[in-house]
């Protein structure tokens, strides 16, 4: 009956993984791809693929969290998506980012503009930098998780994120200067 108990546990664990990380996968897919339609497809494919390989992933994880593995599947599928369709990410601010706290209208407009600029800046970064920022800020992943998802060392990941933020900061500063 050991096999039966294993199967039961496996199914329960997969349901838990799905329930816990659906929002993470969808958020990653949306910010990576830039539109809801394709983000839905990518999320669906990610979980279907995860389901097929879940037993092995769990066996090889040695008890470590499986979120990086799940995001890595989404990352690989997104890479195929761009390769197949030769597309670059789009940014649809209105659907993606809503500033919910009450603000005076003028401040709200200003913040929306800033958010729009940041999203545009993120989408113009090189792929690896953009992905690292999405994982850090949209998914709240730590360096270790991001490193596992990207297949890099923790040190290299820390440098990658630092450089991504510096590049974005520089780009935003240049745009601000150009606007003046």
């Amino acid at each position: 009956m050991e096999g039966v108990a294993d199967k039961q546990r496996l199914d329960r664990d997969f349901s838990e993984l799905y329930r816990t990380h659906l929002r993470d996968v969808y958020s990653y897919a949306y910010y990576r791809i830039g539109n809801h339609h394709d983000a839905e497809d990518l999320t669906e494919q990610t979980f279907l693929q995860a389901y097929r390989h879940f037993e092995r992933a769990q066996r090889e994880s040695n008890g470590r969290p499986l979120r990086p593995w799940l995001i890595r599947i989404a990352h690989n599928l997104a890479a195929n998506y761009y390769r197949d369709r030769s597309r670059r990410p789009q940014t649809q601010l209105d659907d993606a980012s809503v500033i919910s706290a009450p603000h005076p209208t003028e401040q709200l407009v200003e913040e929306r503009e800033e958010v729009k600029e940041v999203l545009a800046g993120v989408s113009n970064l090189p792929d690896d930098r953009r992905e690292a920022l999405i994982m850090r800020f949209a998914l709240d992943m730590d360096n270790r998780e991001i490193a596992r998802a990207l297949g890099r060392s923790e040190g290299a990941t820390k440098v990658l994120i630092h450089r991504a933020i510096k590049q974005l900061e520089q780009n935003l500063a240049e745009e601000a200067t150009a606007d003046e």
């Binding site: 199967k7 329960r12 659906l22 839905e40 979980f47 279907l48 940041v118």
Partner: protein, 112 residues
């Protein structure tokens, strides 16, 4: 606040987590259910063909149990769909779903 901290703050505002649309969760849960259904049917087909050989009778019994449990994942997902419609997500809903699952699995055992 330094420039880097300012950019980090902007990134947190810009890259907020996004809730998946209801249509996606429904579709995805349906697909996952279909997959577990297919696994259960595959086992059921194997059971029928294996029944003709007495050497497989012991294994067939085990396969019936496994088949019942393959459907278990399907029930987990369906139970969640039902409970999601009834009430807000949360631990209570999950607990109730798991009780539904146990009940359904027990029924399947009894049937097989």
């Amino acid at each position: 606040m330094s420039d880097v901290e300012r950019v980090e703050q902007l990134l947190r505002s810009a890259l907020r987590p996004i809730e998946p649309p209801e249509a996606l969760t429904d579709r995805l849960e349906r697909r996952l259910s279909e997959l577990t259904d297919a696994a259960a049917e595959e086992l059921a087909d194997w059971e029928i063909s294996a029944m003709s050989d007495p050497r497989n009778w012991g294994r067939t019994g085990a396969a019936v149990v496994v088949g019942s449990l393959a459907g278990g994942a399907l029930i987990v997902v369906r139970a969640r769909q039902q409970s999601k419609k009834r009430e807000a997500r949360g631990l209570r809903a999950l607990e109730r779903s798991m009780m539904d699952v146990a009940e359904q699995v027990e029924k399947r055992f009894r049937r097989s």
